[in-house]
Subunit: 201 residues, 2 copies
DNA sequence: GTGAAATCTTTACACCGTCAAGTTTGTGGG
DNA sequence: CCCACAAACTTGACGGTGTAAAGATTTCAC
């Protein structure tokens, strides 16, 4: 083995290299050639494992969903006994993931998927995350902490608020005037409060 | 005048060319060279009017904010007498802008602005839009349709829901199962209802 | 062991952003 | 009037990018 051929687990190494570049130089700097160089491999080597740059991005995005699921589900288990805290803290886990690794978050939710059939792994992980949040919401509904009715509609509404907050935060589109006054967590709590029964305006 | 030099209003022509490419081929295909060719000009000509590709994008984004302001303020005036409808319809105008010209919307809200000082026009238009929505919300507060208190905090919460919904819509990240059941407008109304006083869960 | 399949390299091409130098055009001061 | 100067635009070049094709090397099934 000349150390040049048959890296061993290049596919995964490329994903990890992509993540490293993503966290060090941001999403703008993520290129196939740079990923390849970072993995110590020729610039066309990635094409043995990914049909496309899109495919690499999809794999990185899938990884993002997996990591997000780990963190969110851990929080969900921890607050199992208290559905209200469970909803708040799982939502907060989303925000934290976005703040900690903004570029990974951006890629994960950048909407790479035009045709869902192209990246089944990605779709699977997305649905898994979706289902997890729906479960949290349904457990809130069972305890009458959230209103009864279409849990997916409720989920999308709450999820939208979450995503919008993150998107505005990462895009520097919230007036710093406001951010000096209230923290991201306070905004999140303020948002969520409008959905809880009883805590209404 | 050989028709080659001194185009007349190249700066604006480049922005329009960018918008054309954006609507025809999407944000991925937007390149300086293609914009230049589309305007019938050499590939380096844009550098006489924009320091950067970023600067062109900022100009296009600024244009997006202007167009958005026109549409939203027109709706705001139309529903002046009814603050509740005013909030609903201005929010819906946002969603429509995003659905009608998704790539222009994406660029406008892609968070190009790292240093706010770089593109003062962009920041100005952003703040103008922000202020407009805050006004709508404050007029709702005056009529006790929305809760009293920090209007900017309230605005950011509602705005987050709006942006999140749009982001998930444009990113194809809402389950089609749900979208077959409820329309984007119904999701928006469902969201907004949680903020109105009296219409509480 | 041998041939086929998988993995990786090399080469090549078109496109991209950007810079430097040169060319053309409009303009204002003498 | 004209001419120097500034602004607007072209040309050419550089390094980087995605990706396709062809060749080299290794592994693996038979």
């Amino acid at each position: 083995m000349t150390d040049n051929y048959h890296h061993g687990d290049l596919k995964n190494a490329l994903i990890q290299a992509g993540l490293a570049i993503l966290s060090q130089e941001g999403v703008q700097a993520l290129s196939l050639r740079k990923v390849a160089k970072h993995a110590g491999v020729s610039h066309a080597a990635p094409y043995s494992h990914f049909t496309d740059k899109q495919a690499l991005i999809a794999a990185i995005a899938t990884e993002g969903y997996k990591k997000l699921y780990e963190q969110v589900s851990a929080v969900a288990v921890h607050y199992q006994a208290d559905p209200r805290s469970q909803l708040i803290e799982t939502a907060w886990a989303y925000v934290q993931f976005a703040i900690d690794t903004p570029d990974h978050f951006k890629i994960t939710f950048s909407g790479i998927v035009e045709r869902e059939h192209d990246y089944p792994d990605y779709v699977e992980q997305a649905q898994k995350n979706f289902a997890l949040i729906v479960e949290v919401i349904e457990s809130c509904q069972r305890q009458n902490i959230l209103q009864q009715g279409d849990s997916e509609l409720l989920m999308v509404s709450i999820w939208s608020g979450l995503h919008g907050l993150i998107h505005l935060l990462l895009g520097n589109q919230l007036p710093s005037k406001l951010l000096n006054r209230v923290s991201a967590r306070e905004i999140l709590l303020f948002q969520l409060n409008h959905f809880f029964v009883g805590d209404t305006p």
